[in-house]
């Protein structure tokens, strides 16, 4: 009877009984990051190593040549790679900032204010969580076209701003702020805007960080807007440029090193941001219950 003590999730220190979990997890983790290690290694390989036979997994004489080549592949496209990178940075930055602001304001209102359509909006948002953007790509294209956003930098940004997941996570987080706190502030004469800025924002920082990561991943990896809304090459993003490098890579020899370098540039920002904000993400996710 007393031999069983419960499995103690979130243990504070190492115990022999955990070895089996470690063994399994480490093996699996290695398996999961193999392709990522490979991506790093491939990006640093000089041309002769890329086509060594038999192939080697790790790089032997690392070089940054692939990155220089990537910068210089103007012969194919006439447009320097930096232009795509610039578009991506502008677009991702705007999407992250604006979608956080929009979701935070809406989350606050849906959680702490009383108004008629509140229930409907939240319900619609939950249904929209199940929304697969590709399934309505066509009408979206028509609307973007009507609004004059095709071949316009704003066409990358505006369609991504309504983020159902973002609103959802923030609203769940604001729900935890005690109503008394809001009421007290409003007694002291604070307007809703001041309450939002001084009371709500500081408390929901973890949720904002999480939404920032999600928005970043969505925008940075997004190829759809370039593919469908942009006809001018100069307005397309780096992620899209990547797909032009990988298309038919199967048979293309010269592009492999360049494509590997580009893939690495796509991946690294995601990694850095997530590493920095990981604990906040976990905090937000703990409260992501649907109600």
């Amino acid at each position: 009877m007393s031999s069983f003590h419960g499995s103690k999730a979130n243990p504070t220190r190492f115990h022999r009984s955990q070895i089996k979990y470690y063994l399994f997890l480490i093996l699996l983790a290695v398996f999961m990051i193999l392709p990522i290690v490979f991506m790093f290694s491939q990006a640093l390989k000089p041309l002769n190593e890329l086509f060594l036979y038999p192939p080697r997994f790790l790089v032997e004489n690392p070089t940054f040549k692939n990155f220089y080549d990537l910068m210089n592949v103007t012969s194919v496209t006439v447009i320097p790679m930096t232009r795509f990178l610039f578009n991506s940075i502008v677009m991702t930055g705007s999407v992250v900032v604006l979608s956080i602001v929009i979701s935070a304001m809406a989350g606050f209102a849906l959680s702490k204010m009383q108004f008629k359509s509140k229930k409907i909006i939240f319900e619609a948002n939950i249904i929209a969580l199940m929304f697969v953007p590709a399934s309505v790509a066509i009408p979206r294209y028509l609307i973007v076209n009507e609004l004059g956003l095709t071949d316009n930098m704003l066409g990358h940004i505006i369609p991504l701003l309504a983020m159902p997941v973002g609103l959802f996570l923030i609203k769940q987080f604001v729900d935890q702020i005690p109503n008394d706190m809001i009421e007290a502030a409003s007694m002291d004469g604070a307007t809703n805007f001041i309450i939002f800025r001084k009371v709500v924002i500081p408390v929901i920082m973890p949720a904002l960080a999480t939404v920032a990561i999600l928005a970043f991943q969505m925008a940075w990896n997004n190829t759809e807007t370039s593919e469908i809304y942009m006809n001018k090459e100069t307005l397309r993003t780096f992620a899209f440029y990547m797909t032009t490098l990988t298309g038919n890579l199967e048979n293309k020899v010269a592009g492999q090193g360049i494509a590997a370098a580009a893939a690495l540039i796509m991946f690294v920002p995601n990694l850095i941001i997530f590493v920095f904000l990981q604990s906040r993400v976990m905090d937000t996710m703990a409260h992501s219950g649907l109600k």
């Binding site: 955990q18 999961m32 036979y53 304001m105 399934s135 309505v136 066509i138 990694l271």
Partner: protein
């Protein structure tokens, strides 16, 4: 009035880019629309054609979609719960590190990873998988992995599963870590004998909201991920339609053949499927038992 100011921007964006497109898609699905001329109303004809005339849809797209989503959806979901549970059993620092390793594939778009996969599955003898198998003596001649109708679907499934530890996985991990530890002690007094019982009677019921969130995200992610087939094979339609799923079919009709009305009908079908599956998850995990 104040409230309107706060929700306003979201509601406007939400309506323009999510609600209206869905309504327009529903309308267009009853029309013939080639994007040049105005849509012509043709009633249910698109749906009738989809069900009776579209051989590709019935013979390849639908079976492929089912196969793909049945393996990737529940498979990825169970895998993410299992891994989240394992991760919760070790202490904090190593957990963060291992979580990062396991989550890292999901951080980057499949598009970027296609570079890696294409090198691994490259069709000539210098491709990693081919080389490996030739050295083992399993095969004699290199296999054109991503161009072969026999293998494309399995490669798609493997890549997507590898990529599937997303938001839902993080939510589940956080959910497990936040369960009140006293529940386990109480459970042990009430006669719970092993870990399996513990997971079934305590862990899962205590984190139902996160399980639901994870399930909804898994359903959506599964139907989102189908594009990987086109990325890997470099062609839409995929070789002999072997990796064709609903999303590719929509793109094929909408943006390659410019039959937007028909593509919209397929879109509506996809929306209904995703919504229906999410509703089932809702039933399974909703608070009231």
């Amino acid at each position: 009035m104040d409230a309107m100011m706060f929700v306003g921007p979201f509601v406007v964006m939400f309506t323009i880019f999510i609600v209206i497109p869905v309504l327009v898609a529903i309308y267009l699905s009853f029309t013939y629309f080639n994007t040049v001329e105005a849509p012509v109303f043709i009633g249910l004809k698109n749906y009738v054609n989809l069900l009776t005339q579209d051989n590709v849809f019935m013979m390849y797209v639908l079976p492929n979609t089912f196969k793909f989503s049945l393996l990737v959806g529940p498979g990825g979901y169970i895998l993410s719960f299992f891994l989240a549970w394992l991760l919760s059993q070790i202490s904090r620092k190593p957990r963060s590190l291992l979580t990062l390793a396991i989550y890292s594939p999901s951080m980057t778009a499949a598009v970027a990873m296609a570079v890696v996969w294409l090198v691994v599955f490259s069709g000539d003898a210098a491709g990693y998988l081919n080389n490996f198998l030739i050295n083992l003596g399993v095969i004699n001649d290199p296999i054109q992995w991503t161009q072969s109708p026999h293998y494309l679907m399995y490669i798609m499934i493997a890549v997507t599963l590898w990529n599937s530890m997303g938001v839902g996985f993080l939510a589940m991990l956080a959910g497990i870590l936040n369960i009140n530890q006293e529940l386990y002690e109480a459970g042990s007094i009430d006669g719970i004998k092993n870990r399996l019982q513990e997971v079934w009677y305590i862990t899962i019921p205590s984190m139902k909201p996160q399980m639901l969130f994870g399930a909804v995200m898994a359903v959506v992610g599964t139907f989102q991920a189908g594009d990987i087939g086109v990325q890997l094979s470099g062609a839409n339609p995929t070789p002999q339609y072997s990796g064709q799923v609903i999303i590719n079919h929509i793109q094929d009709y909408g943006f390659i053949r410019y039959d937007m009305g028909y593509a919209s009908a397929v879109s509506v079908v996809l929306l209904i499927i995703v919504y229906g599956l999410s509703k089932i998850c809702w039933r399974l995990f909703s608070e009231k038992d």
